[in-house]
Amino acid sequence: MTDYRNIEEKISAYLDNQMSEADRAAFEVEMDGDPELVARIERWSATDQLFASSIPTPSDAHLDALLSASSAANTNRWPGLRIAAMLAVFAFGGVGGYGLSQFTTNPQTTIIVQATMGATNSHRVFAAEKRHAVEVTADETEHLQTWLADRMGREMTVPNLSAFGLTFLGGRMLPFDDRAAAQYMYETADGKRVTLFMTRLDQDENTDVQVLEDQGLTSLRWQSGEWVFILTAPLAQQQMAPMQVEVRDTLL
């Protein structure tokens, strides 16, 4: 019989499936006579699920790369830790002791996580479109730049990425939180879509590029002052790195 110090520890152990059979059976009897306890467990469980549902899962290859780069001995021992390590990298940057600290030098705020989710979601939705991929097409680039500059409150020059074999398709405005975001879209010669997502954050900061991989998409994210930029494509990080330099220099 595990010694639980309070009901909260029991609820947690129950939700985490960490109770022995005897403890679980006893706890379920306790629950039977206590609808308030059941309601509380359901609330806690719903919070767990809400959070878990918001965490994107990057590829195994990316996790392997992260963990093989890690010098911490403990990371090799538990395969399940790969997922937790991913989570820390992607969302919260909290597990600095596992050799992942190179990803955690900048404190991640909720809004940056949301911007990243917004960028990848927008990429998935609009990159799949043929006729409606963009709202304003490349032949109206001048109008697009003026319009978005007006709505975003900053200069919005379209970066020229033709040196990397990319054709500019156009752009659109997107809602992000309570403000506007912009998405520029490019296409490679073999039809792969590359998007640049930009929005304003609440805090001024200048960051290095952070690389995130999620289900076949690579995102390069950096913050310049109060602006965050997220370049997303189904391409390798090395291929995207020079594009990122060009974008950063254009939209400094």
């Binding site: 010694d3 309070n6 520890e9 947690s12 939700l15 809400l50 878990a52 403990n74 830790l81 937790a84």
Partner: protein, 88 residues
């Protein structure tokens, strides 16, 4: 076709989004020592024993930190803890 536009799985309700944002904010506000074991177990799928080894703290401490983290995420008062754990 406009009809082709498919929001699908990303179609969270406004309410769920704002609740998610609140939860993520509270997750950010948690001290590392509570957030780490919670993430390792609830998202990472580690057992308490594994989390205990990874973080190099006793299982009882893992259990206590995870339950405190969950209470915080659910906007509840911090769990009351008796002074001494009788067994570990």
């Amino acid at each position: 076709m406009e009809d082709d536009f498919d929001i699908g799985a990303d179609d969270r309700t406004i309410e769920a989004r704002s609740e998610l944002r609140a939860v993520m904010k509270r997750m950010n506000d948690l001290p590392d020592e509570q957030r780490q074991p919670l993430l390792l177990v609830s998202i990472g799928g580690l057992s308490y024993a594994q989390a205990s080894e990874v973080l190099d703290v006793p299982i009882g401490t893992i259990m206590s930190r995870i339950s405190r983290a969950r209470a915080f995420l659910n906007k509840e008062a911090a769990p009351q803890v008796p002074g001494i754990r009788s067994a570990t």
